[in-house]
């Protein structure tokens, strides 16, 4: 049995539609936890303790520590670099 309340549902502010908790656990790049998971679920259940148990110390620290989210333009440039690497294109 999954230790996660995967069937719980809420409206995702990024997608604009309903999602289950299971989605939030895998919604980030490379199947990682959505960076907003603590913000979105704290009112519903003790998501902090749950994620602390579920993630490695390093991954939980990344999720919970103070950080500045990347600027959208900088993110796009990183996505361009990644796409070029995936498709074997020279910059």
């Amino acid at each position: 049995m999954s230790p996660f309340p995967d069937e719980l549902e809420r409206r995702c502010p990024r997608l604009g539609g309903p999602v289950r908790f299971a989605y939030c656990r895998t919604a980030a790049a490379r199947g990682g936890v959505c960076p907003k998971i603590l913000d979105c679920w704290w009112e519903r259940f003790d998501v902090v303790s749950l994620m602390r148990k579920a993630l490695s110390g390093e991954a939980f620290a990344r999720l919970s520590q103070p950080h500045r989210p990347p600027n959208k333009v900088a993110s796009l440039i990183d996505l361009i670099r990644q796409a070029r690497e995936r498709t074997g294109q020279a910059p």
Binding site: R11, P13, W42, V48, Q82
Partner: protein, 458 residues
């Protein structure tokens, strides 16, 4: 008798967008290695004419005639007095809504989709890719591309693709291709599917797929399009507020309060930025971007971001150290750290020109239902957030016995979001998931901790 709606004649439609970058200072975004990003760094995904707008500091930018020609399909949008809503609220406030739900896709999004499609077309681009969540942006871009004879490819996050078949049908009707993401069409999608064939997808994967298709087209005729956050998106949306200012001039009224829901910031910015210019020039006006209290980006630091200790588990956040769900003290986020919010909106909050507000889910739907029953139009769930703030301001006006004029951005209709209304009407939605007993237990545990300090905006 004042007309219900103030209709701006098409020959008085604004001919220029307002660029707020002329009036505020922003740190330049930094790329890899901490170096400032150059315009050419974005050239693989955007045409240079749009990149020039992204970095422009010209205050007024001409709207090309072919863009105006398409916008005229539904613009100028009506500025409508919500007199029945006022009556239902019993308020002395005068409430106006700028109705962006009248666009063909039903939201404000084509205000930027249309110019983006146009600038791509004149740059020689033949195909535009994008990602979409629930499909509002994807359908807006599909509509815009159809107007300029461009191919449009939309990667729709699978979980929404399965939930929202009508959005997909809208895109296809306008000639776009809509595929569930992850797809087998890109390396990014194939890699994800190989790891997890049943994945619901995510916006991150969909963006990667859309960018990959733009970057890897050997003909160089494909670009990518984004519908929120970026400066040029905010710029294009200012036609909302510029029209509203003209419409208020027609009836000799000036708004005291401007309200809009802010997700990525674009519909809010569209209505508000021209009024921010007025405020910068000394006019007294309250401008409120509104967000859901349950997942805030503007009104409260996302959980632990602003805490001094490394792990953020100081007694100031008792729920962390004690493992309880507990309503944390609302802490102003401060600085440009709002996830997914436009940098320009964030900056204006920091400067005190905007005061962010948060509303609870049930209050939001209650406002939306009251609006639908009084004014007839069913608002999109995000629009309901703005309407909940309108209700708060209208009730405040009633308590103070003050007449004031409120204008709200009615960003879209909710006809493709009826599932959310169904849940609200069936009593399936709640503001807090905890039971009373659990809440009492949590509160007892933290009774000696500092009392939550409320933001001035709440």
């Amino acid at each position: 008798m004042e007309p219900k709606s103030i209709i701006l004649p098409q020959d008085r439609m604004p001919r220029q967008w307002y660029n707020i970058l002329a009036d505020i200072r922003l740190n330049p975004p930094l790329g890899p290695g901490g170096k400032p990003i150059r315009p050419e760094d974005l050239a693989p995904v955007f045409p240079m004419n749009l990149i020039e707008q992204e970095v422009s500091s010209e205050r007024w930018i001409d709207i090309p005639e072919p863009v105006l020609d398409v916008l005229r399909i539904w613009r100028p949008s009506p500025l409508t007095r919500a007199s029945r809503f006022e009556k239902a609220l019993g308020t002395p406030a005068r409430i106006y809504f700028k109705n962006e739900s009248v666009s063909p896709p039903g939201s404000h999004k084509p205000n930027t989709a249309v110019p983006q499609a146009y600038y791509n077309k004149v740059f020689g681009i033949e195909r535009i890719t994008t990602e979409t969540g629930a499909g509002q942006w994807g359908s807006a871009l599909a509509f815009a591309c159809a107007q300029f004879g461009l191919e449009c490819k939309v990667f729709m996050v699978r979980v929404s693709f399965d939930q929202k078949p009508y959005r997909k049908a809208m895109m296809q009707t306008w000639g776009a291709t809509c595929v569930a993401s992850p797809s087998a069409e890109t390396k990014a999608g194939r890699d994800v599917l190989a790891r997890d064939p049943d994945t619901p997808g995510s916006l991150g994967i969909a963006i990667s797929e859309a960018v990959e298709q733009a970057v890897s087209d050997p003909s160089g005729k494909t670009r990518y399009s984004l519908g929120s956050v970026l400066n040029h998106v905010m710029l294009h949306q200012t036609i909302i507020g510029l029209e509203a200012r003209e419409q208020f001039k027609m009836i000799g009224v000036e708004p005291d309060v401007v309200i809009g829901c802010a997700g990525g910031g674009s519909n809010f910015a569209g209505l508000a930025f021209p009024y921010v210019l007025d405020k910068i020039n000394g006019r007294q006006i309250d401008i409120f971007p509104v967000e859901p209290a349950a997942c805030p980006t503007m009104t409260r630091a996302p959980f632990v971001y602003d805490h001094g200790d490394t792990a953020g588990y100081t007694p100031l956040l008792p729920m962390h150290s004690l493992g309880h769900t507990f309503v944390p003290p609302p802490i102003h986020a401060g600085g440009l750290r709002y996830h997914g919010m436009s940098p320009t909106v964030s900056q204006l909050i920091d400067e005190g020109l905007l005061v962010p507000r948060a509303v609870k889910q049930l209050a939001s739907y209650r406002a939306g239902v009251l609006f639908a029953r009084s004014e007839g139009i069913i608002p999109a769930p995000e629009t309901c957030n703005a309407l909940a703030c309108v209700v708060e301001e209208a009730e405040k006006a009633k308590a103070e016995g003050r007449e004031k004029t409120i204008v709200v951005s009615f960003s879209g209709h909710g006809l493709l979001d009826l599932g959310a209304y169904e849940k609200y009407l069936d009593g399936q939605l709640s503001d807090v998931g905890m039971g009373e007993e659990q809440l009492a237990e949590a509160m007892a545990t933290v009774k000696d901790y500092p009392r939550p300090a409320h933001l001035k905006s709440r």
